[in-house]
């Protein structure tokens, strides 16, 4: 086993894991409890869920972007 590459990749996994837990934490504690509209209006539940899903999607894209930069940094430094 190539310890260096596995250790570097494990480091990336740990960072991504920490960010993921933090992201889910923000969704749980801040985003999910938000009341965006009066719950008496029709279809409000679906609008509310849709907006929150979009916020979660934005978090996921950011998370993947950070992952992407870390792997590319390693790969292009090693193959230069």
């Amino acid at each position: 086993m190539n310890i260096r590459v596995v250790a570097y990749q494990t480091g990336i996994f740990v960072i991504q894991w920490g960010l993921m837990i933090l992201g889910f934490g923000i969704l749980t504690k801040i985003i999910a409890p938000l009341k965006l509209l009066q719950p008496t209006l029709p279809l409000v539940m679906y609008f509310d869920a849709g907006v929150k899903a979009l916020i979660a999607l934005a978090f996921s894209v950011t998370w993947l972007f950070i992952w992407d930069r870390q792997v590319r940094y390693y790969f292009f430094r090693r193959t230069r």
Binding site: N2, M20, F24, L27, L64, W67, T79
Partner: protein, 341 residues
């Protein structure tokens, strides 16, 4: 069974799946070879022919043992029916793809529908298939009455295709997912999961080990899409049935990285065989090296050979090392799920 607790019974029954999977894989090796269902091991200089679609042994064993356990223990048939249908349907999609060589876009679309049994049975029997409250480590959880059911279809498609995409080398998928199943089984035991969850993870582990015996380096049996898709779907279905969604994502980090970099470069769903720029190349001494083509996707294997050419065995060891790391994080995630800050 009076003196045995239910977790022990679950593991003992699941142990039986090892010899069955071993024997079924062997049967498919001979039968498929005799019927010309073979693939070429392109990562060896001799390019040996290896029987394909032997991974069919895995969904068959999983379904048989799910039903056996349900009958023996009188456990509710609903989660087992949902699980078996998901695994069976994805295996069917994989088998059709193995025979017809469909275009890359069809697998993610068809596997979306394979999650329907979970969704439908979940609607019919609330609380027995899924729970719309997502449990988050350290932060409690939140209720997702609209999003959660819709996500189920995506989850099955993503997990099945992510596993399908990370099976380039002998034993990399079967060994890697065995590590994931074993880790989540340990996590389930540590966190007091119910015996159905323990059984399903244990049966996945032992079934995979039976297949792995023939699939390990040098491989004498290839999984084919039939095995890869059903194994991935099994993980996805288990994540939902056992409420281990976040831990399962963590355990599958190597699959996620591989799929993300493949898709971000290619920008479409396609088959490896349709790629013009291959991520790796075979050197004259039988090692795998990173492709010099800038258009080649940055797959996990290509990242692992960035420093220089490596043998297939070395790369597979590295992939397993990464699965051990991600599964350790998944176990920590499970342990943290019960804790709220």
């Amino acid at each position: 069974m009076g003196s045995l607790d239910w977790d022990t019974v679950a593991i003992l029954v699941a142990l039986g799946s090892f010899p069955i999977s071993l024997a079924l894989t062997r049967f498919f090796m001979y039968w498929n070879s005799a019927h010309g269902i073979v693939g070429i091991d392109v990562h060896k200089l001799s390019r040996p022919k290896v029987p394909e679609m032997c991974g069919a042994a895995v969904p068959i064993t999983l379904i048989i043992f799910g039903e056996v356990y349900s009958l023996i223990t009188n456990a509710s048939w609903i989660p087992f029916a949902a699980y078996s249908l998901v695994v069976g349907l994805t295996a069917l999609v994989g088998a059709v793809d193995d025979k017809l060589k469909m275009r890359g876009i069809f697998k993610p679309i068809l596997t979306l529908f394979c999650g329907l049994p979970l969704l439908v049975l979940g609607f019919e029997f609330p609380g027995q298939v899924y729970d719309t409250t997502l449990r988050v480590p350290l932060f409690g959880g939140y209720h997702l009455p609209v999003i959660y059911p819709l996500t189920i279809l995506v989850v099955i498609s993503v997990t099945s295709n992510a596993v399908n995409m990370l099976d380039p080398l002998n034993g990399s998928m079967s060994g890697g997912i065995s590590i994931v199943a074993g880790g989540l089984l340990v996590g389930g035991l540590l966190t007091g999961a119910n015996s159905t969850t323990i059984f399903l993870y244990a049966s996945l582990l032992f079934t995979l080990l039976g297949f792995f015996y023939h699939n390990r380096y040098p491989s004498r049996a290839f999984s084919g899409n039939v095995g890869q898709l059903s194994i991935g779907a099994s993980l996805g279905a288990l994540a939902i049935l056992s409420r281990t969604e976040i831990a399962s994502i963590v355990a599958m980090f190597p699959n996620i990285q591989n799929s993300f970099f493949f898709l971000s470069r290619i920008r479409r769903f396609t088959e490896h065989r349709e790629l013009k720029a291959r991520p790796t190349k075979l050197t004259s001494d039988g090692k795998l090296a990173s492709s010099a083509d800038p258009a080649a996707p940055l797959t996990l294997v290509r990242t692992l050979v960035a420093e220089g050419p490596k043998t297939e065995r070395e790369i597979v060891s590295d992939i397993w090392g990464l699965f051990i790391a991600s599964t350790t994080l998944a176990i920590i995630t499970l342990l943290l799920t019960g804790i709220v800050l």
